[in-house]
């Protein structure tokens, strides 16, 4: 087993004291932002980008991966103890989890979520170890036209899956693509869409866009319709569960993992759909006590979706690392982090930087174990974080947003750009435009352009080059299907108006 040996080397790299410290910082920060409303892992990684510039890449990615996984754990604590989820991906957990908490079974709900996340995270990371080299050996033959088609598929899939209205998802994508165009064209040195402003020649920094859309947008949105009563937090002791709970949880954990991993790996798959499917499956499979408890707080309804949620996070890393294809907002920010270090995820990354890739993957196993320890005994501590008064919380979020953006270039112009993007983020939330497509468009757009121009240069400007490879044709057809499918669904069920998938923020 070649990749097994590489993984062992990765463990050797990740188990140094310094990297263990970065992993611990990452998972702690990740759990914190996962628990806190208003901020998520995508924004946290974005804010940390400027100050991690001096950190060696392996350590930085170990920390970022910890934040990503930690955010998934923290979100479940919020959804169980408050009726409303911390992250869109734990929305389903709130259905049964909060009802369990209200019936006095908060400790068991938290335990099945944490242990389920650990089981799913570990299995899914193992699947990543197996799947990544397989995808790499397949993707090594990809030409630029295939990568371009892949980007198009990611664009349409993300836009149509994350919003009930395809046109709103596409509008969000368009905002990201347009912002990505601003600045000097890398190949010819021509300035594009800079309005004659020198500050725009370098383009708009990813950090400014991500922090503006997420942090400032959220703060303005909350200001516009603040719920003036503090939400009720269910009190909880140490998380634990009894023998019956174990018996009822282990199968949902495994089934949730089976839903989560493949969906995470698909463009536009994300965590929302697999958690929803897992919930539906558990509800249908429920027998006896569980069947009666569904809707009133069944442990299966927490165990399955939470496992699916974490497995999808590991799944997301497959296309990100092997193809350089982000399928969620956090993955897009991670891709931007790779670019900051001058690295391009893809088959070559596994060849040129095995220590980095396998160190990061090994750190996922380590981080998962740390998260289990952080979340089982310390649940009451995280529950107290939920009691931070909201005025302080959002004022603090804006303060850190301003700090992170100012730290980029020490420029007040960036702060004004941050504010304008915050207004855009506010409007997008207000009118139900998902934010993730904008972030993915911003980061993947310039890469799609490079691949497009490369493909057309090879084909001497002949547009049919783009459909010469069968892989590209299949990907483009799938992209078209992703756009058209919701229209069909709308035509078929004109009468029904129920939302299919909850609106997404960041995952």
């Amino acid at each position: 087993m070649d990749s097994f040996q590489l993984l062992l080397d990765g463990f050797a790299g990740a188990l140094t004291p310094v990297n263990l410290m970065y992993a611990l910082i990452g998972v702690t920060l990740g759990t914190l932002v996962g628990v806190l409303p208003g901020i998520g892992p995508a924004m946290t990684v974005a804010l940390l980008l400027p100050i991690t510039f001096t950190v060696p890449p392996t350590s930085a990615f170990i920390m970022f991966a910890g934040i990503y996984y930690g955010g998934m754990y923290g979100g479940s604590t919020t959804s169980i103890l408050l009726n409303t989820p911390g992250e869109s991906s734990s929305m389903i957990t709130a259905l049964e989890g909060n009802k369990m908490a209200r019936r006095g079974r908060a400790a068991q709900a938290l335990a099945t979520a944490a242990i389920g996340s650990f089981v799913a995270g570990t299995i899914a990371t193992a699947l990543l170890v197996v799947a990544a080299p397989a995808v790499v050996s397949f993707a090594i033959s990809f030409g630029p036209e295939d990568y371009f088609a892949l980007a198009i598929l990611a664009f349409t899939a993300v836009s149509s899956v994350l919003s009930r209205s395809v046109v709103r998802g596409l509008a969000s994508l368009g905002f990201g693509l347009v912002i990505g165009l601003i600045g000097i064209d890398q190949q010819t040195g021509q300035a594009r869409l800079t309005l004659g402003l020198d500050q725009l020649l370098d383009g708009v920094d990813v950090v400014v866009v991500a922090v503006g859309l997420f942090a400032l947008g959220e703060a303005l949105y909350v200001a516009s319709r603040l719920r003036h009563s503090l939400p009720e937090v269910v009190p909880v002791g140490r998380a634990w569960m009894g023998r019956t709970d174990w018996r009822r949880s282990w199968l949902p954990w495994l089934r949730g993992t089976a839903f989560g991993f493949p969906f995470g790996a698909l463009p536009g798959g994300g965590a929302e759909i697999p958690t929803f499917l897992s919930y539906a499956a558990e509800k249908r499979l429920a027998r006896g006590v569980a069947k009666e408890e569904f809707g009133k707080g069944a442990i299966e309804g927490v165990a399955g979706p939470e496992a699916a949620n974490n497995a999808s996070a590991a799944g997301t890393l497959v296309p990100l690392l092997t193809l350089g294809l982000p399928t969620s907002a956090t993955a897009a920010i991670l891709l931007a982090a790779f670019q900051q270090y001058g690295l391009q995820p893809g088959p070559q990354l596994f060849d040129h930087n095995p220590a980095l890739v396998w160190g990061m993957i090994a750190s996922l196993f380590i981080g998962n174990t740390m998260l289990l320890v952080l979340n089982l005994p310390l649940a009451p501590l995280w529950a107290r974080v939920l009691r931070i008064p909201r005025p302080y919380l959002y004022a603090g979020i804006v303060l850190f947003a301003a700090l992170g953006v100012y730290a980029l270039n020490g420029s007040v112009v960036d702060l004004v750009a941050l504010f304008l993007l915050g207004l855009l983020g506010y409007a997008m939330r207000r009118f139900g435009l998902p934010v993730a497509p904008a972030v993915i468009g911003l980061i993947l757009g310039p890469m799609a352009e490079i691949q497009l121009r490369r493909a057309l240069a090879i084909g001497a400007g002949d547009v049919t080059t783009l459909v010469r490879s069968p892989i590209a044709v299949i990907l483009l057809l799938l992209a078209l299907a992703a756009l058209v499918a919701p229209l069909f669904r709308k035509l078929m069920t004109r009468r029904r108006t129920e939302p299919i998938v909850p609106a997404s923020r960041e995952d």
């Binding site: 408050l82 010819t188 021509q190 319709r225 719920r227 730290a407 506010y426």
Partner: protein, 170 residues
């Protein structure tokens, strides 16, 4: 072109979302017009720096048209749900305006007053607008945060933040 509301909640005739839809459309036009200025002379083979922006611009125009049509026909997205947001509450424009004003004032005075003072004022102002009950405590937390972030980021992590009035003191 009247904005009939088929089903759903009663809405006013002018829908604010139309503004956003028009912005999408206008952005598409802007990209197309802005790209015309870019000289294509640099490219002899394949495509130059104009092709992709044109593609994006034209797509944006198409998306904008569909979006405007959708809003006019009464379509709407789901306002995002969040734990601290009351989705059914009417928009509180005063708070949004105050938050915006405080943030812009912060950007204006940051370099003059320095990070510690400006950030403390930013935190205090925002928390009061967002409903902090104890003003004195909010001010205390603001000053503590301002000093703590300055020490952590400037002394600890080597980020440069403006010292302003307190330069030399801290």
């Amino acid at each position: 072109m009247s904005s009939d509301n088929t089903g759903q909640k009663q809405r006013r005739r002018w829908r604010p979302e139309l503004g956003l839809a028009v912005i999408v459309l206008a952005l598409g036009v802007f990209v197309v017009l802005g790209t015309l200025d870019v000289s294509a002379a640099a490219s002899q083979l394949g495509i130059g720096p104009r092709f992709f922006p044109m593609l994006v611009g034209c797509s944006m125009i198409a998306i904008g048209l569909f979006y405007v049509a959708d809003v006019l026909r009464g379509g709407s997205g789901d306002p995002e749900e969040s734990e601290d947001v009351d989705v059914d509450a009417p928009a509180d424009w005063r708070s949004v305006g105050l938050v915006s004003g405080i943030f812009l004032a912060f950007t204006a005075v940051l370099n003059v007053l320095g990070w510690i003072i400006a950030a403390s004022l930013l935190f205090f102002g925002l928390s009061v607008v967002l409903g902090a009950e104890h003003k004195l405590r909010a001010a205390g937390v603001g000053v503590a945060l301002g000093i703590a972030t300055y020490l952590l980021f400037v002394k600890g992590l080597g980020v440069s933040l403006p010292g302003g009035l307190l330069r030399g003191v801290i």
